[in-house]
Symmetry: C2
Subunit: 306 residues, 2 copies
């Protein structure tokens, strides 16, 4: 039975590209037949990456069967994985997020979690010299994952390790990083096809602040005006999304990649209280700019208070 390799639900670039890279490595170097799959439709940046490097779009799966061999990458959170995950045969986990608990395995397996910006960087370390033999598509996917997760080295999650690897891959592929990243961010920023509810869920994680559950949504863009011009419609869509997703409110941070700041929409007094307690700002009106805030993992989640 082929081993399925997947990232988290609502796949972003890292959760689309890293499974492709790891399935290649397992199949070509370790002798384990492996297939990358997706837990949902990838975002526009991930789709752009697939097209750019001529990679077939992985099949989308809804759940995994009991006993199915799987490798989980870019998450260790059961809430971001198929419902049947703990009955699957989890063979390995490669991730760069905090340990949340909840995943269990029958026996000891390979787990590698590192405080790096990107799953692909960890994979490069695990692959060692095998990486140099990878086809351009695999190297290109890994480069794109790193540039995506680091916002081309602007995010405070960026480590020297991520940067050095990305620069090595870019040199190898004759890719000019600034030009490539602009094109990539433009693809990510083209969200005209999505409804407000889709935008609120696109890159979001549930997080509980002192007993109150929030959907913490981040939209990284080089065209913040394209999203902020839909501010009223986005705020109007929040109550229904929150109700359907069983949270109290959606916190939407629109991250301006080039200006290196986030705008938080503030539709109600709860969100105003969170914004003021968490980021030391005073909110007037229905949004607030947070200078320097770019990373949910490093700057938003650790700051959230009520």
């Amino acid at each position: 039975m082929t081993t399925l390799v997947f990232g988290h639900k609502s796949p972003d670039t890292d959760s689309t590209g890293s499974p492709i890279a790891w399935a290649w490595y397992l199949s070509e170097f370790i002798g384990i037949e492996a297939t990358p799959v997706l837990l949902g439709e990838p975002n526009t940046e991930a789709l752009w990456m697939l097209k750019k490097w001529d990679l077939p779009k992985p099949r989308i799966i809804m759940d995994v069967e009991a006993g199915q061999p799987v490798v989980i990458v870019d998450t260790n959170n059961p809430a971001e994985l198929p419902a049947g995950i703990n009955a699957a045969d989890i063979r390995a986990i490669i991730d760069h997020h905090k340990l949340v608990g909840g995943l269990e395995t029958v026996g000891p397996i390979d787990i590698t979690i590192r405080p790096l910006a990107c799953t692909a960087t960890i994979m490069a370390d695990l692959m060692g010299s095998a990486l140099s033999t990878a086809p351009d598509g695999i190297k290109g996917a890994m480069l794109t994952c790193i540039l995506s997760d680091t916002l081309a080295f602007r995010s405070p999650t960026t480590t020297d390790h991520d940067r050095v690897l990305a620069e090595r891959l870019a040199a190898d592929l004759s890719v000019d990083i600034p030009a490539y990243a602009s094109e990539m961010f433009a693809a990510k920023s083209d969200v005209s096809a999505f409804s407000e509810a889709e935008l609120l869920r696109m890159d979001s994680k549930e997080y509980e602040v002192e007993g109150t559950k929030f959907r913490v949504s981040v939209l990284e863009t080089t065209s913040p005006e394209a999203i902020l011009s839909r501010k009223d419609a986005l705020m109007a869509a929040m109550p229904q999304v929150a109700r359907e997703d069983d949270v109290t409110q959606v916190l939407l941070f629109v991250v301006d990649i080039l200006a290196e700041q986030a705008t938080l929409l503030v539709p109600d007094t709860l969100t105003k209280a969170v914004a003021e307690a968490s980021f030391g700002v005073s909110v007037n009106g229905d949004s607030v700019v947070l200078p320097g805030v770019m990373s949910r993992k490093k700057q938003i989640i650790p700051a959230l208070k009520l």
Copy 2:
């Protein structure tokens, strides 16, 4: 503040030696001031190792304070760790057990879990060339950890990776493995000083079989008769230990390292049912021999049924 490095409660050789080795590495190579500590009195084999390699016995701690930087080795199970563990500042986890869930971290940290026999083997990989510069005491501790966890390569948990490393360390230290292991196992087998209740808890893990909680205790010995001669007293002590530890029964497996078999004590019909369902044997009397069974992780826990 110094970083505390520790293994699990009821420290065996790996949970005593690996913290010493890792604290050395962090202090000498990574520039992080680190101190090995123990979560209880080490077993007789671990004490023998400390004496053999002239290593100071680490301080025993009962709990950790909130915010205390810690590295956890040889377990990822909160039940085997101090009560305050999730409020500590967990910096890294190095382990070779199944993922049980329950540990949580504030941010992403270094987690390395590998399906190898011994934590020290994983550490050797992480240390890379630094290991060659380690003092003999560190190399000796790591060698002892591997020989202990693999029962000198007899346990089915042994991998080639563990064996190759142990042989390299032994050659480096001019240690004759069979002679050294005999001495080590004799130390482990000297349990005359322990009460029955202490023996039942010495190397034990709680495990739930279809809703019934057991304390699964393993005593590895080259002198099984020294323990089995106390069979009646051990069985008499089980009800109170079970009551105090909030489990239904204690399953005591006496592993004969040289004969490569385990003897399970069978004090009641519940244990008889577990023995017959799990190991396909029929039990007559108050004990049963299980040929080839040496590993709780690989052969006992996965087999347990009711």
